[in-house]
Symmetry: C2
Subunit: 491 residues, 2 copies
């Protein structure tokens, strides 16, 4: 099975696509740009959802659900938002089909044209702030801390499974606050939730930062982000949290009566992560044999494969395997005994390797005699024979070790691929040849940022949250600069 | 607060609408026919989802996700399906907007017309079976037991919150099997899952049955259903499970190589429940004071309201209340201490009553002295003073009592409103005046069924699963009939 995966060194992009298909994560559908998330891929997404949802609730948020469709006119209400979002999107113009008078299937019924077109939500700020107007009258109604899990559609011309699809799944938080400080604090709280989740659960190290004006969300005053580095040296934005100021409150006329009895516009944030995280997960840890999953997100953490020549051996091994399964389950470990008689052990090994199961146990007749088991680690591909005695405790510990090891490996990779550069030559060398982050002084102008992008395709991935104290010269313009920022090519 | 709720006896439909709004469950949005599910309503839906999802997984199902959009031509492939579903639906015709040349907002870009229109899924059989063709080759790939949680759109002209909305949330299961018997068994297994869930969690008694040909799902050979009776005497279909035969396999050319090496078409089922269940929940248990929730689905099972005149009293009560909260939480009971200083106890009582919190505790200074607490049951509206000693165990027990009481009350109501009728006069009397189920012999023809519907608006809600042994005469045609069926007006 594994032999059909393109090697990363040969064609990284092809390797990624092969892996998504062969690990049964997702595939393209009959609808251009829309993917089917297969059961195995979806079960990983469910784990992501469940954990994030718990973290949102622990920080005081509630879920709700807002309409899929947004009236076209809503997008015109916030000037910069319309530029960013209302263009490439799916437009509903009719609400009925009829039998083709020529008898060839069905056609759109022209008599059922909508008075105002409906847009399939690319993001929900407009419809949500139109609703908040009815929910918010007084400071007592604030803060409003709401999240929704939903599908959204952005008509992308070039799509890639998980990374960029026309329809994708995400969560979008939309909060309303009485003060500017409180809204900024909320945006930062969520940035912390995101980075904690991505580092501790997905084992992906991320930088927290803010976006330059060019890269900001359409309608935001400030966009905070978490940024990760993939194995091919390209950066990936893994989540964003926006401070929206009073822009949407003004566009949708959402005011509240403050404690001092004054009518004021409400302050807002919005924030989201999507199925794109699946792309980050794959590209951070996986190898030429397939997917590598951090134990905390693995649908199956331990798989047991029996190796036998006859029914008698199979039964004896199964008794042992079922004992192990029972003990591991009682410890909260997700384990599967792969007793399919339709496939050989070699096939099973390759399949579980492809699907990234963190720990594989193989038990044969000899193992029963010796009271041993063969254990294989997916992250290091190391194998060892272990005594059955105390096996479950060792596995429990090992899963934690693997979780930490994956994070450390990714962190080491990122550090090795972060280059502090002082000259334009060095900068180009990094971006064009080495890959990874180029950290350099920037004069703070959009003009310089755009020129750098034109010449090298690198963008400012983020501006560090800590203020820089030393002054320097912009890597491109040579003008005085106060801030070192992180550049990279990006997904 | 409660005084603003219309009485059920005055106008049941208005009562329902008032309640949905005032209990903060949902509201209409700016998009015709689409609702906003508010946080409180959504938190009940989340409990429904979580429990059903667990039950699906226990019966071997996995979740996946399929595209929102379906190419128009897919609907023409299954003849009866297109008649039932492809008509009143949202049609995406364009994929881009542009600035209005006149400077007035944005308009549809006529250059961005889709070659083939996309339908926003009203149900997903077509896109899923188009996908299954790629997933199924051999009997080893079967059964395929997949569910998806999703939003769907059906362009309804007359909408009602939760009961009938253009967009709604649901789960749709789509399974593929090697044999007819296995597919029928699956449809029946799911019918059992649905009825167990609705009876044990929602405390709604349901009949399991099958639909007549007229009421069958478009494309199904057999539609099984669970049917409930609402307080106003109208029936509500709470869930359906369809045996689809080989219809979709033939339409999308999904064949498998059987164990005896023959190419055969795959057998199918599909099944779903939706946010409509929220409507059933409301209309089964609630009263003129507001929502009544079964404890197993209540986001808050117990609320504690402090009654105090000064800070000192408030602090003493809060110490006691927090002790109770801690103990109840450790027992897995969802409890809230409503210590808001912005609202008076009377307001809080009315609010929690409106929102259906099963148990309310009130603690005042006198209670602290006497070591008592006042407990109010939402289902019976009874109040009693209890000793603090052993309070938590009593509450735990009481929640089970309330759950059972709600079910029993609804069951008694249904039994009292089920009328076995032998003459057409009696039949009309039941349907037109009494309400509830009229159980009568039917000759088995669609013609008779349609005439009864025309004359009385009653439809066959279900045909009992048990075969009838006695023969009789059709209530309408007088022809010989072998089956008593359940008629009612329905939502």
């Amino acid at each position: 099975m594994a032999k059909f995966l393109t090697k990363r060194s040969e064609n990284y992009s092809q390797w990624y696509n092969d892996l998504v298909l062969k690990a049964d994560l997702a595939e393209n559908s009959a609808v251009r740009g829309s993917m089917v998330i297969k059961p195995y891929g979806y079960s990983i997404w469910e784990k992501i959802q469940r954990q994030l949802d718990d973290m949102f609730k622990e920080t005081g948020h509630e879920n709700a659900y807002f309409p899929l469709f947004i009236p076209k006119s809503f997008f015109s209400k916030e000037a910069s938002h319309v530029e960013g979002f209302a263009k490439e999107c799916a437009v509903v113009t009719h609400y009925r089909l009829k039998n083709d008078p020529d008898g060839k299937g069905i056609v759109v019924d022209e008599n059922a044209k909508l008075e105002e077109e409906l847009i399939v939500r690319p993001t929900s700020e407009t419809i949500i702030w139109d609703t908040y107007r009815k929910w918010i009258q007084s400071y007592r109604d604030l803060p409003l801390l709401i999240n929704q899990w939903a599908n959204v559609v952005r008509w992308e011309m070039r799509t890639r499974l998980f990374l960029r699809t026309a329809e994708f799944l995400w969560q979008e938080g939309h909060t309303a606050h009485a003060t500017e400080q409180e809204a900024i604090a909320e945006a930062r709280t969520i940035l912390d939730v995101y980075s904690t989740f991505v580092e501790e659960w997905m084992a992906i190290p991320v930088h927290k930062g803010r976006k330059s004006a060019n890269e900001r969300f359409a309608g935001a005053l400030d966009t905070y982000c978490i940024e990760a580095l993939m194995q091919d040296g390209k950066a990936l934005q893994a989540g964003t949290s926006h401070f929206l100021g009073q822009n949407f409150a003004k566009a949708f006329d959402v005011k509240f009566l403050s404690k001092d009895n004054k009518l004021e516009y409400v302050w807002a944030t919005s924030w989201g992560v999507s199925t794109r995280l699946m792309g980050a997960l794959i590209m951070t840890h996986s190898d030429d044999n397939g997917l590598v999953l951090p134990p905390r997100l693995a649908p199956v953490q331990v798989v047991i494969v029996p190796i036998y020549r006859n029914d008698e051996q199979f039964e004896a091994i199964s008794r042992k395997a079922n004992e192990i399964v029972k003990k591991l389950r009682s410890m909260g470990i997700r384990v599967r005994y792969d007793n399919r008689d339709t496939h050989k052990p070699g096939f099973k090994f390759a399949e579980h390797e492809m699907k990234g199961v963190p720990v594989r146990l193989a038990i044969g007749p000899r193992d029963l005699e010796n009271n041993t088991v063969e254990l294989a680690r997916r992250d290091t591909l190391e194998k060892e024979f272990l005594q059955m005695e105390g096996l479950e405790t060792k596995i429990e510990h090992l899963l934690e070790v693997i979780q930490k090891n994956l994070f450390q490996k990714a962190l080491d990779f990122r550090e090795a691929n972060t280059h502090y550069v002082d000259t334009w030559e060095e900068f180009k060398e990094v971006i064009e040849k080495k890959g990874g982050f180029a950290v350099a002084y920037w004069d703070g102008t959009s003009e310089t940022e755009e020129k750098i992008k034109e010449e090298t395709k690198a963008t400012i991935r983020f501006i560090p949250l800590e203020e820089n104290t030393e002054e320097g010269r912009c890597i491109y313009s040579g003008k005085p600069a106060t801030q070192k920022v992180f550049f990279a090519k990006a997904y």
